[in-house]
């Protein structure tokens, strides 16, 4: 028996981390924008609890001294989302999705695996009430339908319900997402 190596720090997956960070940032801003455009989404948000904070992160987010991609949105007013940024707010999120590792986050965020499929494979943990989880997934699906062309969106969502004024809303959504209002 021999010791091959002592104390190995496995290092970082920088490109994957960067991609996932950008995607989560973009999804956060898109959620903020879609809440101002789509009446269906507004209806869903209205059912969420007051001041509800929802987040998506990648493990080891939250571990002391560790940086990992994350994004948070908060319900403001009656039926709006506000993008809170990439750092954890002071209060505990009402609902938090945590991908178990950066590779599985990549699988979902490169649309190689549907959200529902990833959930079935236990790719992520969801911490919070089931009602919020279902609402959030429906909102996320709606946002993805707006953001992505149909062939790609079909890879990301379980059921494709084409919204009214999809194309005009898509342009508005992109402009709002990029400009952040």
């Amino acid at each position: 028996m021999k010791i091959l190596k002592k104390e190995i720090h496995p290092g970082k997956k920088r490109i994957k981390n960067f991609y996932v960070s950008v995607m989560l940032w973009f999804v956060g801003r898109a959620l903020q924008a879609v809440s101002k455009i789509d009446p269906e989404v507004r209806k869903e948000i209205a059912d969420l609890p007051e001041n509800c904070l929802i987040g998506m992160s990648v493990y080891p987010f939250g571990e002391p001294g560790q940086k990992a991609p994350a994004m948070f949105v908060r319900k403001t007013g009656v039926d709006r989302f506000r993008f809170e940024g990439r750092k954890a707010p002071a209060d505990k999120p009402d609902f938090l999705i945590t991908f178990k590792n950066i590779d599985t986050a990549m699988l979902v965020l490169t649309f190689r695996e549907k959200t529902t499929e990833a959930q079935a494979y236990a790719r992520f943990t969801a911490d919070g009430p089931l009602a919020i989880a279902c609402t959030f997934v429906r909102i996320l699906n709606r946002t993805e339908i707006y953001l992505l062309p149909k062939p790609i969106a079909l890879c990301a969502v379980r059921r494709y319900d084409s919204p009214k004024h999809k194309h005009s809303n898509r342009i508005r959504l992109y402009v709002r997402t990029v400009l952040g209002f």
Binding site: K2, K6, E7, P10, P60, N101, L107
Partner: protein, 375 residues
């Protein structure tokens, strides 16, 4: 399904299989409050260290040390325990073939009880095992049955005459990752475990009182075998057959309406209850096609807690069986050998010829039973 029948559905290890299985290693370690694992790798598989390191990238896990273990090292458990303490590790990752698996289990005992497995007697094991360090296993061979079974039945540690049985010895998590667990046997060899998995699954499925989850596992196993038949690559076949084996075994051990023989060692019950279970097994199970002759002997030995089982030749099997029956009769009916006659008569009559291939051996065993019954 009879809903009044009591069941306790339990699978000791969490099994994660398929693409990116190993990437969840860090997350699983954290669930067990572990951040600094000791990685054990057989000397023939040094490349696995790189794969594990790659899988742990962008996580909080720091590998305490990587140990390259030889196949025939006698004091391996002691050395593993020493390095574990030196490097301040808090868990073990074993890229395992069967022999290393046993060494790791033994090392865990050493770390927990402060004694080697050989020093701990079988009866004292359950009380002496306190807090075992978490163990993760990445099987090397998917098709080779001993490796998969060693990971799946790690509650048993057999060291010569001493045997330690405890559910605590299960590996916490088994990662069947195609990057490491892909050493396929030759094509003709993977068919045998596939057929075995299929048989086991059908067997579990045919039990009308199976737990629904057990039946689902059995169906999954059949599905995996069917997929393996049409799979394009050998690695894929290997993975599927490995899954099928795990599924079918899970189905089988959970399909019985009362505790199966394989599960008896896991049950922490009093001697009286165990004897009661054994009586049930003899009266009801033996008339069916539940287990083979060698299994029966092993089960008897396990329950009696004495003797040893050697299946190297028909003669040694016979001797083991003879000793086991003597010990059992003593346990079941202390001082009253005649009281056991009803059970043993049923046993002798119920023993189908398929259990014993050797006719002479069967006759000898039956004669022995008759002599014990006193008729």
């Amino acid at each position: 399904m009879n809903e009044t029948v009591y069941r306790n559905f339990y699978v000791g290890s969490k099994i994660i299989s398929g693409r990116y299985a190993l990437e969840t290693l860090s997350f699983e370690l954290l669930q067990q409050n572990a951040r600094r694992p000791l990685c054990l790798i057989p000397e023939t598989e040094k490349a696995a260290a790189g794969t594990i390191r790659k899988a742990l990238k962008s996580t909080v896990t720091v590998i305490g040390a990587v140990l390259i273990c030889g196949r025939d090292e006698s004091d391996l458990p002691e050395k593993i325990a020493e390095v574990y303490r030196e490097q301040n590790c808090d868990s073990l990752i074993a890229v395992a073939e069967a022999s290393l698996m046993y060494a790791v289990k033994s090392a865990r005992l050493k770390l927990s009880a402060g004694k080697t497995a050989a020093e701990i007697g079988r009866t004292a094991a359950a009380s002496e095992i306190t807090e075992l360090p978490p163990q993760q296993v990445v099987p090397l061979f998917a098709v080779a049955v001993p490796s998969v079974e060693a990971t799946y039945y790690p509650h048993e540690l057999n060291l010569g005459e001493k045997r330690i049985l405890s559910p605590a010895l299960f590996a916490n998590t088994v990662f069947v990752d195609p990057r490491i667990t892909k050493k396929a046997s030759a094509r003709k060899e993977w068919r045998k475990p596939a057929a075995a998995a299929l048989m086991t699954a059908v067997w579990a499925l045919s039990d009308m009182q199976s737990h629904p989850a057990a039946r689902a596992c059995a169906l999954s196993a059949i599905g995996q075998v069917c997929e393996a038949l049409t799979a394009r690559s050998r690695a894929e076949q290997t993975r599927l057959v490995c899954n099928a084996q795990i599924f079918s075994k899970t189905a089988l051990i959970n399909s019985r309406p009362f505790p199966a023989v394989e599960l008896l060692p896991l049950i922490q019950v009093s001697e009286e209850v165990r004897i009661g279970i054994l009586k049930t097994v003899f009266e009801k199970e033996l008339t069916g096609l539940s287990f083979g002759y060698a299994d029966l002997t092993q089960a008897v030995l396990t329950l009696c807690g004495t003797g040893s089982f050697d299946n190297s030749s028909p003669q040694t099997v016979k001797n083991s069986f003879t000793n086991a029956v003597s010990a059992l009769l003593e346990k079941l009916f202390p001082g009253k050998p005649a009281a056991g006659s009803v059970i043993w008569k049923q046993t002798a009559e119920a023993l189908p010829s398929s259990y014993l291939n050797d006719t002479d051996l069967k006759n000898e065993c039956l004669a022995f039973l008759q002599s014990q019954i006193g008729e």
